[in-house]
């Protein structure tokens, strides 16, 4: 058995564009990550289009990468046997960004709960409904509130809690949460994130995908920062977010609008990012067009992951 719960080794996923997909660009570019068995919250942070959602889908077994391996408990996710596959589905669950898109608008939301109980736990309706009641009460809902209702009858926050209940129902070991709070009002966000924190106590690990470094800092143990498909810095969340090693991480943190940073935020010089596709295809460091510390070497050669203190960072400054 492997010591890791989840391991990604040099995973790449290409998307084609242009004339019948002739030009390939790497949405995820040789990403490596690992999560220990001990329950943790790992954040994958980055800006829109950095490949974090693609990476989430790869972890979930929904999108097969062209290169690299994804291991769950030491087994290759994309070549699981039938029985193993079923176990993987049961143990690795997800919560998505758009609560209204999570459920089919033509179906009742409770069908997904009963479906999960039936498929994942082989439960009959009666047994299932007591299990569902219990799970719903954990997220602060009752079964009567949701039975026979379509998604449009709920608020976004309620739907997101139902989505969490659905994921919990199969008694998962790992939950991939893809921007779970970005469409929820700021004042209710914490309620959802606190649920995650509590679930960690119940032996559930999380991959938390987000663009918001403040919430990432609030809940995560470890963090990986992505830029144009690549993981450019990873390590303990405190270390990465408070001490920032990669110039891009520095730019991200310094751009975060926060009370008390007013003077620095407005006055300090900074440069906006370049055009996406070009940077995805760059042969050297992808951050070169905006980096304040760029060197000759950065243009030619892609930096590997260097150790810097407790973190790993893909930047020649640390080579």
């Amino acid at each position: 058995m492997s010591e890791f719960l989840l391991e990604l080794k040099n995973v790449s996923k290409f998307f084609g564009y242009g004339f019948i997909g002739w030009i390939k660009f790497p949405a995820v570019d040789s990403a490596s990550l690992s999560m220990e068995k001990e329950p943790k919250i790992l954040t994958i942070a980055g800006e829109s289009g950095c490949g974090k959602t693609t990476l989430a889908r790869i972890v979930l077994g929904l999108l097969k990468p062209e290169e690299g391996t994804v291991l769950y408990k030491g087994k290759r996710v994309y070549s699981l046997k039938r029985g193993e596959r079923k176990l993987f589905r049961k143990e690795v669950q997800a919560i998505f960004q758009d609560p209204y898109g999570t459920f089919n608008p033509l179906r009742n939301v409770d069908t997904y709960l009963f479906g999960t109980a039936k498929h994942m736990l082989n439960m009959k309706d009666e047994e299932a409904s007591s299990q569902i009641k219990e799970t719903l009460s954990f997220v602060g809902l009752t079964i009567d509130e949701i039975v026979g209702k379509k998604p449009s009858e709920f608020s976004g926050g309620q739907l997101q809690r139902i989505a969490i209940a659905r994921a919990l129902l199969s008694q998962p070991r790992l939950i991939v949460a893809d921007e779970p709070v970005s469409m929820i009002d700021a004042s209710s966000r914490m309620n959802v994130l606190n649920i995650f924190k509590e679930l960690k106590q119940r032996e559930i690990s999380f991959v938390y995908i987000t663009h918001d470094l403040a919430t990432a800092y609030y809940i995560s143990d470890e963090i990986a920062i992505m830029y144009r498909g690549m993981i450019i810095e990873k390590g303990p969340a405190d270390e990465v977010l408070l001490n920032q090693y990669h110039p891009y991480t520095k730019a991200l943190v310094s751009s975060l609008p926060e009370h008390g940073k007013r003077e620095k935020w407005i006055k300090e010089e900074m440069s906006p990012l370049g055009m996406e596709i070009k940077e995805f295809l760059a042969s050297g460091c992808k951050y070169i067009s905006t980096c304040p510390n760029k060197m000759e070497k950065c243009l030619k050669e892609r930096p590997p992951m260097f150790e810097a203190g407790k973190v790993k960072v893909a930047c020649w400054l640390y080579g």
Partner: protein, 271 residues
Amino acid sequence: MKITKSLAITIGVLAAHLIFAYVLPYFAPYDPRRWATVPRDMPPSTAFLFGTTTVGQDLFWLSSYALRNSITLGILTASVSILIAFLLGATAGFVKNPALHNILTLCIDSFSLIPGLPALIVLTYSWRKYLSPILIALILSIFGWAWPSRSVRSLILSLRERPFTHTALLSGYSMIEIFFKEYLPYIIKWLAVSFLGLLTWAIGMETTIAVFGLSTLEEATIGSILYWALQYQAILRGIWWWPIIPILLLTTLIVTIYQLSNMIGELLGAR
């Protein structure tokens, strides 16, 4: 409120057509296809409501037969076309291999660009000795599926990208279950609308090839009445009711079906 009122009118007009086509033939006093059963070239009157033809048929009973045959043929064509469209479109939407997907897509797109009429004419001409309403329906179906197939494909493609597909997968549903439970409600809505579209297309197309003299001309259809009217120079001889009656029946029918499909589309939120 407005929709329900016009919906009532539409359904009323459609029902009148259907009664005329499917109930009235049972009351026909004689086989209306037979020649020389009534005096020739009589304009519409109380005796002959729709007038009579140059070969001595009563247009009232004849067009009731013809409308029945045309609608039946249309329904048959639309059903077969929808089936092909559904199967091919769903395959194109579900195929994972990008090359295969692109090829299927290009094929469907090419087929919708090919002008169907000359091909239909050659095909019906080759088989003219064996033509029956069923065979015509099958031949028409060969050229009816492409357009709806395009839409089925893109509908499935867009549904596959919706997050609820992933939710269902993570709830342990198989792809087949997802297809039937999650997608079919959307596809059926859409198919209902395009079935009506195909129905009008098929009725019009049968009429078109009949006017070229390539349908079951002995069997009464709206098209064959028009064909014989043209053959006997009815328009130039001033026997205007001979072509006008089937034209009016067909036009009102098709416009009504089109209105109905619009309303259904709006009600179901398809499109």
